[in-house]
């Protein structure tokens, strides 16, 4: 972390998450972290390194290796007034906790009619491009975004990480906080000092343009911006929206942009069928069909169970910048 211009600090995404968690633990002693290897090891990406020495093993909890209980115990803590931040070591390991997240956390407020609430954050690194193969690369957002009662955020810029993680910690309902692991050290940016939040549910126009709207999130938002920069060099200004929040989703920003550019390209790493792009395109067709000048297009992961370990298989799954740029050109020229 190097102090840069006044009022901001240059951080990568690991540092931004680490810094935000640290400040939250300092600010509120109801806050605690639980997960696998978050204590002495300091999390497998070193996000919580040194926390156990400063905050103690009662608040930085190395749990037994059992994801359902990480989520379930965190729910019980939240029901009794603590502010747990649970960690699932890799998003791929979240399946054993699915019952607790979907069946319990998402329904606690609803089934008790507000008598009990579940102010819980579950952080987990997701996504590929790091040779993680079938069980260290998956995207899980579509498995959860169907579920009322949950909130899902997936920021990928350090300043957004901080603002949305603060919002998630403050939120009175359960929030699934997705961190794309390929961006952890790859992406750096200026992070404002001091406490601030970014509202959950608000997208961010990362690049303005009038020829095409591109909606993306995660690692691909960075690739999409690179592709959009290429197109700008070719005289085509593309608008790039970083969703940041997956549920609830920012209808206002997406519709306003589509009505301006009249074309929509959705890019995500998760596979296409039933993915986040399906809901976005359905919403745009319902509400802005007559504003469209071209069919909506989705550029997504292939419909296979996961990306392979071999570099060739991983590369075949991931969408490189040139393919994004080509899809953008085709849409602009439609």
């Amino acid at each position: 972390m190097a102090v840069a211009t006044s009022g901001t600090t240059t951080m990568n995404n690991v540092e931004a998450v680490r810094h935000t968690l640290y400040e939250a633990l300092k600010a509120d002693d109801r806050t605690l972290i639980l997960g696998e290897d978050v204590g002495a090891r300091g999390n497998v990406f070193l996000i919580t390194k040194g926390f156990i020495e400063e905050f103690g093993p009662e608040r930085i909890i190395d749990t037994p290796l059992a994801e359902a209980s990480i989520a379930g115990v965190a729910i019980g803590m939240a029901m009794e007034g603590l502010r747990p931040i649970a960690e699932i070591q890799f998003a791929d390991f979240i399946y054993p906790a699915f019952n607790q997240i979907v069946g319990e956390a998402a329904k606690t407020r609803y089934r008790s009619n507000g008598d009990y609430t579940c102010p819980l954050v579950i952080r987990t690194p997701y996504g590929g491009g790091i040779r993680g193969a079938l069980s260290h690369s998956v995207s899980i957002e579509a498995l959860f975004y169907h579920v009322p009662g949950l909130k899902i955020v997936a920021p990928s810029f350090p300043a957004d990480m901080k603002g949305l993680l603060n919002a998630a910690i403050d939120d009175p309902d359960p929030v699934l906080f997705l961190e794309h692991k390929k961006t952890y050290r790859l992406v750096k940016g200026e992070v404002p000092q001091g406490h601030y939040t970014i509202p959950i549910g608000k997208a961010d126009v990362k690049r303005e343009g009038d020829r095409l709207t591109v909606v993306s999130y995660g690692f691909y938002i960075h690739q999409a911006l690179e592709a959009a920069a290429q197109l700008a060099g070719e005289g085509m200004d593309v608008e790039v929206i970083d969703l940041r929040s997956i549920r609830p989703m920012d209808r206002t920003t997406i519709l306003a942009s589509v009505r301006k550019t009249r074309k929509l390209l959705i890019i995500h790493e998760d596979n296409k069928f039933g993915g986040i792009g399906a809901e976005i395109s359905a919403m745009v067709v319902e509400d802005a069909f007559f504003d469209l000048d071209a069919p909506i297009r989705r550029l997504c992961g292939p419909d296979v169970p996961a990306m392979g370990y071999a570099l060739s298989l991983e590369e075949a799954f991931m969408i490189p910048v040139p393919r994004m740029a080509e899809a953008m050109r085709e849409m602009v020229n439609f």
Binding site: L32, E58, R59, I61, T63, P64, A66, A68, S69, A71, G72, V73, A74, I75, G76, M77, A78, M79, E80, G81, L82, P84, P96, N99, Q100, G103, E104, K107, T108, R109, Y110, R111, S112, N113, G114, D115, Y116, T117, P148, G149, K151, P172, D173, G201, K202, S245, R247, P248, M249, D250, R251, T252, T253, L255, A256, M283
Partner: protein
């Protein structure tokens, strides 16, 4: 645990013994009424707990109101009443009235009472066990003295992986939890022998490095003693205990089940002969704690109260349809965020 047992016996004065009896009679009366209401078509389903009266009255007596927390399961009518849950609210849940604490959302027996320390539950077996452990973690972290967490479940629940995860987590962190297995021998139609090879659920405690106690679940005093001892251990900082109370499910799983399809009448009748409710009443009569007329009067008063309560709740309105959308999140529910700036 001889120390706790000895102190407990001196505590069980006549007043407490009569509380046990009364709670058992109330539980039986509520169950009976629930099945009647279902057969009359007035409630969609009933879920009886006959055979669990001694377990729940004994556990309820060990529960310290205003201090302890209860994470119940769905067959805990008697226990929640013994822990202070209002009788009228049991029937508001059964009738799914607007005044029900869940607003008529959760199915019968799935109640909530944060003010009484009784947690909201789902029907997903054993999923409340890790919640109880998280609650116990909060109790321990905040160094709250003399507070324990009661975690209730049946024998079938112990087959769930989440049950194991909960007990193990609590053992490792030495949390103030009582894991109370109400072993009624049947998980709907599946007998204990198809759930586990061991005779006693409590014997599994050794695998977690914690004590396990087996107790006669037809004897409310024995249950009270075992649970009070486990509570003492919990609040002393010595960690969790598994208490297994052997009881029996006299009724079908629910009014939608027919137990004649999977277990013999002879088995049920044999267990009926051990029915804890008349047995405990007889014990108190023999000890001259109460006489037969006193028991009969108690039974009549309870029946009158239960009938008057259901008559009243029956007239209350159900929830209005627009309440469907409330309490999904804090504030309004909208999967798509509409910001003020939207130009439509």
């Amino acid at each position: 645990m001889p120390k706790a047992t000895a102190s407990v016996q001196t505590l069980l004065d006549n007043e407490r013994l009569l509380t046990l009896l009364r709670n058992m009679l109330v539980q039986r009366a509520v169950d009976t009424r629930g099945f009647q209401l279902n057969r009359q078509g007035k409630i969609a389903i009933a879920m009886g707990s006959e055979g669990h009266e001694a377990v729940q009255a004994g556990t309820g007596l060990a529960f310290q109101r205003g201090k302890d927390l209860l994470y119940p399961y769905y067959r805990n009518t008697g226990l929640i009443l013994a822990c202070g849950f209002p009788l009228a609210d049991v029937f508001r849940s059964q009738f799914a009235r607007a005044t029900d604490r869940t607003g008529g959302r959760n199915i019968i027996n799935h109640i909530t009472a944060r003010d009484l320390g009784i947690a909201s539950l789902s029907s997903i077996i054993a999923s409340q066990c890790t919640h109880a452990v998280g609650a116990a973690y909060a109790v321990k972290l905040r160094k709250e003295p003399d507070r324990a967490v009661f975690c209730q479940f049946g024998d079938g629940a112990t087959s769930e992986g989440e049950w194991h995860e909960a007990v193990n987590f609590a053992a490792v962190a030495r949390l103030p939890v009582i894991f109370l297995c109400e072993n009624n021998r049947w998980a709907i139609s599946t007998p204990q022998a198809k759930q586990m090879v061991v005779e006693d659920v409590a014997s599994r405690a050794h695998g977690y490095g914690i004590p396990g106690t087996v107790v006669d679940g037809f004897d409310p005093v024995a249950v009270y003693e075992a649970v009070a001892a486990a509570r003492e251990r919990a609040v002393s900082g010595d960690g969790p205990t598994i208490v297994e109370a052997k009881c029996y499910r006299f009724l079908s799983h629910t009014t939608d089940d027919d137990d004649r399809t999977y277990r013999s009448r002879e088995e049920v009748e044999r267990q009926r002969e051990l029915d804890p409710v008349p047995r405990f009443a007889r014990k108190l009569i023999d000890a001259e704690t109460i006489d037969e007329a006193g028991v009969e009067q108690m039974r009549r008063e309870i029946a009158t109260l239960v009938n008057a309560t259901t008559d009243e709740i029956e007239t209350e309105p159900g929830p209005s349809a627009d309440t469907l959308y409330g309490n999904v999140y804090a504030g309004s529910h909208e999967p798509w965020c509409v910001w003020e700036t939207e130009a439509l």
